[in-house]
Subunit: 336 residues, 2 copies
Amino acid sequence: MDTSRPQQGHSERTVAQVGEFAVIEQVVARRSQPTTTLVGPGDDAALVQATDGRVAVSADMLVEGRHFRLDWSTPEQVGRKAVAQNGADIAAMGARPTAFLVSLGCPPETPVSVAAGISEGIGLAAEALGAGVVGGDLVQSDHIVVSVTVLGDLEGRAPVLRSGARVGDVVAVAGQLGHSAAGLALLSAGIGVEDTPDTSISALIDSHRVPTPPYDAGVDAARSGVRAMTDISDGLVADLGHVADASGVQMRIDRGLIGLDPALADAAERVGGDPWEWILTGGEDHALAATFASVADLPAGWTVVGDVASGDDSAAVIVDGRPWTASGGWQSFGAG
Amino acid sequence: MDTSRPQQGHSERTVAQVGEFAVIEQVVARRSQPTTTLVGPGDDAALVQATDGRVAVSADMLVEGRHFRLDWSTPEQVGRKAVAQNGADIAAMGARPTAFLVSLGCPPETPVSVAAGISEGIGLAAEALGAGVVGGDLVQSDHIVVSVTVLGDLEGRAPVLRSGARVGDVVAVAGQLGHSAAGLALLSAGIGVEDTPDTSISALIDSHRVPTPPYDAGVDAARSGVRAMTDISDGLVADLGHVADASGVQMRIDRGLIGLDPALADAAERVGGDPWEWILTGGEDHALAATFASVADLPAGWTVVGDVASGDDSAAVIVDGRPWTASGGWQSFGAG
């Protein structure tokens, strides 16, 4: 249940009526801050602790109609998704998120409840990670744009890069594969959480609305001698392809090691989709993929899905011995 | 002269034709990085040095048509303006910018030269500050949105906040006042740099296109016992009002101490504007305003414009003994 969803009475007031400072103050300044926030929102800049003398940082932008739909997700869910998308990038380096900044563009007629709900979702999701929301900007735009930056702390560890994979490594994943893509297919087919008593189906839809990256698995991997790691945002094949390219190796994936989740098979039957397409090319679950020197190095929550071979072959990633010929991941702009 | 402006031949290709990764690689990954960039762009996150164990951070969003116009500015100038706007927030805390991240939303039909030009401007302006561009995101949106985050290094100094002003302090400014507003008024009146041989007029237009914050003045102030500081982005009266509110004091400004720049008087005559309105309420110059315990504390580049009085009076800022009754600054959304 989404108990913090704004009430109807508030949604009649617009961002333009209330004014920028009021909205920002309402949603950002009142949140409690972790001890790592040395100077919180409200000044020209914030100040965040970076104990080991380094800060990990990443930024992503979500656009209404492209990355989320407000008829499919509540504003709070959109905010939570923005945190997950950004937080996973920090986890993929082996770091922990410490602080988020949110720039929100929205049309003047946007109800305050929408702007406040997105910010509230960001605040609650950040809080659950022990991170602060330390800054924000609210500007007028033609449609809703949520731009998030995340800072992270490596706690003294070496950063885990895409370039560290070596021939003979095992390839492993942590988190869900294909759930968000299945949820999107269900929503696109007109099936909502409200339409089904089937909890495995509604869980897929929830996975699309609010992905749940395996944050701890990223830190655990960094502590266990992981060689290379990435967040899966463009799909398993595409993102492992980035690791393969950066490392000069080939990734060999075995579908038998992944296994077919019955919930995905069930959803595929309902909407006429291909569950393996979702698993191999679906982005937005924000699972983690990594390579380890041996199976013995895998922390809890990680599953072996293949191994690393020499990069002499033309395909960066092969699935069951062949290049995967489907679309192979998602880009914001299709290459012509 | 804007020698790095993209050539016409390139502008026929669109972002959609070239694809997201190609544009990002073209404009971000090839730039050289300062030594503070420990891991640059191209991985899930970047890693930036934060030597004193803290990082200053701020984010701002610029929207086409609202914060810039591509018929008034080149894409490179838009990028430079985005860096100035964000860098000034770091300077206002007494820190030096170390790294920028850029999320760029643009329609698929956007020429590559526009997206690349904005990124190029950001890269060149960051480089001039000794900072890296360490990350970026390019997504599809209905119009161009430039979202920038800046990281900064206090180099062991205490952060300079808005809340430190004390009764009896002198109020001082560094940088230009009203130049950007005058430039905007000239452009709005149809007067461009090309239309006038008058260098003082074309300099005002350039100030609007690419503001030049007094970065060193911020660091110098932090070293000289400044008490409170802010970047002037909403106008002198409005931003000093934020300092007055945060400090519980009143700012008393004397126009005689500011003086009327002849270039502003000249521009005002040409377009029928009020130069004092530009000086007192014009944002976007990204000058700095601060309070110091005494005139003797002022570093080079700072000019006394008033003093700090007790905050018992109702007005946060008074000009020549009276509350300033004009619009008093700029907000993204007008309060109803």
